[in-house]
């Protein structure tokens, strides 16, 4: 590249990075400032104050929410991976009325916004004693993330040669055994994508947490931050809570960045 073009690319990069960092920047600045410091959010704090963070976690509500969210996310991901890969295997190998029906149903579920079903879901959960329970929300999160998992697994397993299945069958494997011993071990990279894509969505789940985990000790990160915003009157403390809530996922994202980017690109190629 000529140096003029190089400079242009460099400046454009700087501009884009600055623009996309604005919300995080002003939140970080506000959260480290004393609540009596009325300087602009663009101006860095004169000394770093940790009181806002202390305030945001003082009653332990943040830790509880973090543990709840971690638990719900981990178990939901597990269900998405197991059920998604099993379903994907069947959809990739069989093409008949049943599998086409399941494929159509999956497409349908992908389009249903969970918020549009909160009223009947509330009644459904009453019926199965699932209100305010972790397991019900885990099942809900898993179910509504399943379509993406099923599509990614189906597309991937279609590229795994059928000859492998046949060889396993000749060696006496049942079809479930083939799935378990032949297909599953090959799903490593694509499973990483499924875990990342559904994990981010579930960590950030708001609707199910808002409606079905209402008691204070069952809050998720999203509902904790939200309730904190309504309870405190200082934006600095609220900013600290927002930052704490976003921090775990941002750290994981930065550490596993290659997998996250690859996963997002996987989800697109249908």
């Amino acid at each position: 590249m000529r140096w003029g073009k190089r400079l242009l690319v460099f400046l454009t990069s700087l501009l884009i990075i600055a623009l996309h960092m604005i919300p995080i920047y002003i939140t970080v600045v506000a959260s480290f400032k004393d609540i009596r410091d009325f300087s602009s959010k663009w101006v860095l704090p004169q000394k770093l104050v940790l009181d806002n963070f202390r305030m945001a976690i003082h009653d332990g509500g943040f830790y509880t929410a973090l543990v709840n969210t971690g638990l719900i996310t981990a178990l939901s991901i597990l269900i998405v991976v197991i059920v998604g890969s099993m379903t994907g295997y069947v959809l990739a190998r069989l093409d008949n009325a049943v599998t086409r029906g399941v494929l159509l149903a999956t497409l349908g579920v992908m389009m249903v916004p969970s918020i549009s079903l909160v009223v009947p879901l509330y009644r459904t959960l009453l019926l199965i004693n699932g209100i305010n329970t972790y397991w019900a929300v885990i099942l809900l999160c898993a179910t509504y993330q399943l379509p993406l998992g099923i599509f990614i697994y189906t597309n991937f397993i279609r590229t795994v040669p059928v000859a492998l299945d046949e060889a396993a069958e000749i060696d006496g494997c049942s079809q479930f055994g083939t799935y378990l011993r032949v297909i599953l071990p090959q799903l490593g990279p694509v499973t990483a994508s499924v875990m990342i894509l559904s994990g981010v969505k579930i960590y950030n789940e708001y609707v199910f947490a808002l409606y079905f985990l209402q008691s204070a000790d069952r809050r998720m990160i999203t509902t904790y931050v939200s309730s904190f915003f309504h309870e405190v009157s200082y934006i600095n403390q609220a900013s600290a809570a927002a930052l704490l809530g976003a921090l775990p996922i941002i750290v994981v994202y930065l550490v596993l960045q290659k997998w996250f980017i690859a996963g997002a690109m996987d989800s697109a190629v249908k």
Partner: protein
């Protein structure tokens, strides 16, 4: 059904149970509740026919919410396609630091919509908001960014597009990297200028990427909920409500669960029609190489 596939069908049982129990049964139940006057908690209720749908269609809340839902859906989708494609073309150039640029653009989509809303509140707030600080430094009067209905709708569109533009960027980037180098080479040898190359070679080959990005963004924008909830809760008045937030409003604040269920049915129908139409429109334009 051949007997040899018994195991295969057994493996479909979990997904059938989950989808039936937590999506299809509630969906049917939702249609049933939408025909009642249930208030959301009492044991008794009665069937009222299409009353909920009729009063919904006649209410000002629903008219505003319907208009906004389309603005959120199509507005965000439009911005995300244009900016997302531009970003993808940019980060597809070879330069040092392009991975960092990709990383930062995609970063906001990691953050929960509700938390992004609170973060952005610090920017657009009236009294001490960061944007109004700039306005005043430049000698202007503070602006009511979120307290003016139409402006707030526009800002919500911008924020949601900003947050998820990275998703579109990566979909387009994947699409660009799938275009075989020989095709670009051949077009260049035939004397294509860079604009011609983009319009007649790259863009047609990107149609599958455009389709999936557009549909993902449309579904995301039409069901927009948490960002609005954090920024304005549908206010000022009812000016920024989407159908999604009005479901919450009807259910929690008006004790009108029947109406909320009806709004839910309408939202699903809208999303279904819009995404099915988009899909058929784009699929017709697909080309092969």
């Amino acid at each position: 059904m051949r007997k040899k596939h018994v195991h295969m069908y057994l493996m479909l049982i979990p997904v059938v149970i989950l989808f039936t129990g937590l999506v299809f049964y509630p969906f049917i139940e939702g249609i049933r509740i939408s025909l009642t006057n249930w208030n959301g908690y009492s044991r008794t209720y009665s069937y009222v026919g299409m009353t909920n749908y009729i009063s919904l269609l006649n209410s000002r809340l629903f008219k505003v919410a319907l208009r906004n839902t389309f603005i959120y859906g199509f507005g965000c989708t439009f911005i995300q396609q244009v900016v997302g494609l531009a970003y993808a073309l940019f980060v597809n150039l070879r330069f040092r630091g392009r991975n960092l640029v990709r990383l930062i653009i995609y970063l906001p989509s990691m953050i929960a919509g509700i938390i992004m809303g609170y973060m952005m509140y610090g920017l657009f707030e009236y009294n001490r908001g960061a944007l109004n600080d700039i306005v005043r430094w430049l000698g202007g009067q503070r602006v009511l960014w979120l307290e003016d209905g139409n402006r707030a709708v526009f800002i919500i569109v911008l924020i949601n597009a900003f947050q998820f533009v990275g998703v579109s960027m990566l979909i387009y980037l994947a699409g660009l990297q799938n275009i075989p180098a020989q095709i670009m080479e051949a077009a260049r040898l035939d004397g294509c200028g860079s604009w011609q190359l983009f319009a007649h070679v790259v863009l047609p080959l990107l149609i599958p990427a455009i389709t999936s990005s557009t549909i993902i963004n449309l579904i995301g924008g039409l069901r927009l909920f948490d960002l609005i909830q954090a920024l304005t809760s549908g206010g000022p008045g009812i000016a920024t409500h989407s159908i999604a937030t009005s479901i919450n409003y009807l259910h929690f604040w008006s004790e009108n669960a029947g109406g909320a269920a009806a709004a839910g049915v309408v939202l699903f129908v809208i999303i279904f029609i819009v995404s099915a139409t988009t899909n058929t429109l784009f699929r017709r334009k697909e080309v092969e190489f």
